[in-house]
Symmetry: C2
Subunit: 194 residues, 2 copies
C-alpha cells in the first residue's frame, strides 16, 4: 500500500513513437511487478473528451483531464504512462506543478521523419487541408526546455529508448527492477527480528 505512483508523460509529435514506447514500457514495468496504466491521447479523447476539438483551449482541457485521471491513479500506487502530443509548454508546466513524481519524456524525432512514417495517414490529410490545427503543420509544438528524459527515435531503436527511460527511473529511485524480490528480503528481515 506504500508504493508511490509516478506519471511518465510522453510528449512529442504525431508519429514520433510515443505510443510504441509507452507500450514497451508498460510490458517491461508490468514484468517487474508494477501496476501500470497507459493513457493514450487518442483513447482518452474517445472516452473523456468526445466533442473537444484541437483549438488551444480544447487541447488544454483535454490535457487537464488526462492529468486529473493520471493523478487519481498514481496516488494509488499506479505507474501511469501518458502518450499525448501535449504541444504547449504552459500545459506541461502546469502538469509538473500539480502532479507528484511527474517525469517529462520528450519523444523527439524531426518532423520529416514523423511525416515520412505517417502511420495513421494524418500528415497527408493535414497537408491536403483535410485536417486543421495539426501539430507542426498548422499548429505549434513548443519543444520542452528541460525534459527529464529525451528519446531520439530517429537515431535510437525503440529498445534503446525504452532502456534509457528504465535506467533513468532506476537512477531516480522511482523503480527497482525487482520489487517483489525486495519485499521477500524485507520479510526475511522481519523473521530474523522475531
Amino acid at each position: 500500500m506504500e508504493s508511490k505512483g509516478i506519471v511518465l508523460w510522453l510528449t512529442g509529435l504525431s508519429g514520433s513513437g510515443k505510443t510504441t514506447i509507452a507500450k514497451g514500457l508498460e510490458r517491461k514495468l508490468k514484468g517487474y511487478g508494477y501496476l501500470v496504466e497507459v493513457l493514450d491521447g487518442d483513447v482518452i479523447r474517445t472516452n473523456l473528451s468526445k466533442g473537444l476539438g484541437f483549438s488551444r483551449e480544447d487541447r488544454d482541457i483535454n490535457i487537464r483531464r488526462i492529468g486529473f485521471v493520471a493523478n487519481l491513479l498514481s496516488r494509488n500506487g499506479v505507474v501511469v504512462i501518458v502518450a499525448a502530443i501535449t504541444p504547449y509548454r504552459a500545459a506541461r508546466d502546469e502538469l509538473r506543478k500539480t502532479t507528484e513524481n511527474f517525469i517529462e519524456v520528450y519523444v523527439n524525432a524531426p518532423l520529416e521523419v514523423c511525416e515520412a512514417r505517417d502511420i495513421k495517414g494524418l500528415y497527408a490529410m493535414a497537408r491536403a487541408g483535410e485536417i486543421r490545427a495539426f501539430t507542426r503543420i498548422d499548429d505549434p509544438y513548443e519543444e520542452p526546455h528541460n525534459p527529464d528524459i529525451v528519446c531520439y527515435t530517429s537515431i535510437e531503436s525503440i529498445k534503446q529508448s525504452i532502456a534509457k527511460v528504465i535506467a533513468e527511473l532506476e537512477r531516480l529511485n522511482h523503480i527497482t527492477k525487482t520489487p517483489y524480490q525486495q519485499s521477500e528480503e524485507s520479510k526475511t528481515l522481519d523473521v530474523n527480528a522475531l
Copy 2:
C-alpha cells in the same frame, strides 16, 4: 497486487445523502487499510465534464466518463465510491455490464425529505424555474429494480446506512475488516512453514 477493486455506485436524488454516505464509507474503508477514492458527481463534472449539461445525452456521457475512470481505478485494486444521481436505469445497467464488482447502492429518500433538506438550495431554484431538467422536478428518476443495497436515509441514521453497506460488502466477501491483520497472519504462517 492481488487485491481486487470494487465500484460502489451510490444512486439517488439530490439531497438523498449520497455524498455523506460516500465520505463515511471512505473513512471506514481507509481505516481497514483499503485504497479508496470517492468520485463525486459534482467534482467530476468540474474536472471531466465541464460544458456538459443535463440533457439525457449529456448525463449519459458524464456517467460513462465516471464509469471509465472508476474502472481504471478499481482494476488497480482501489475501492471506488461513486456518488452521482445517475437517474437512468439504462445507464446503470450498462455500468453493471462493463464494470467488474459493480455494486449498486440505492440511496433512497422521498422527494419531500430531500426537498426539505435542500442543502445546496437547488430544489428552490428548480421550483422557481431557475434550473431546468432537475431530477424529480422536471426530469425523471428511474428507481432501481434490483439494487444490491438500499439505504433508507429518511429512516436510518447515516451511521446505520454506512454499517449496512459495510456488512453487505463483508457478506459478499468484497472486504474483510482487517486486511492488514490478515496479511500479518499469513506472514506468521510462512514463518511456521520454514
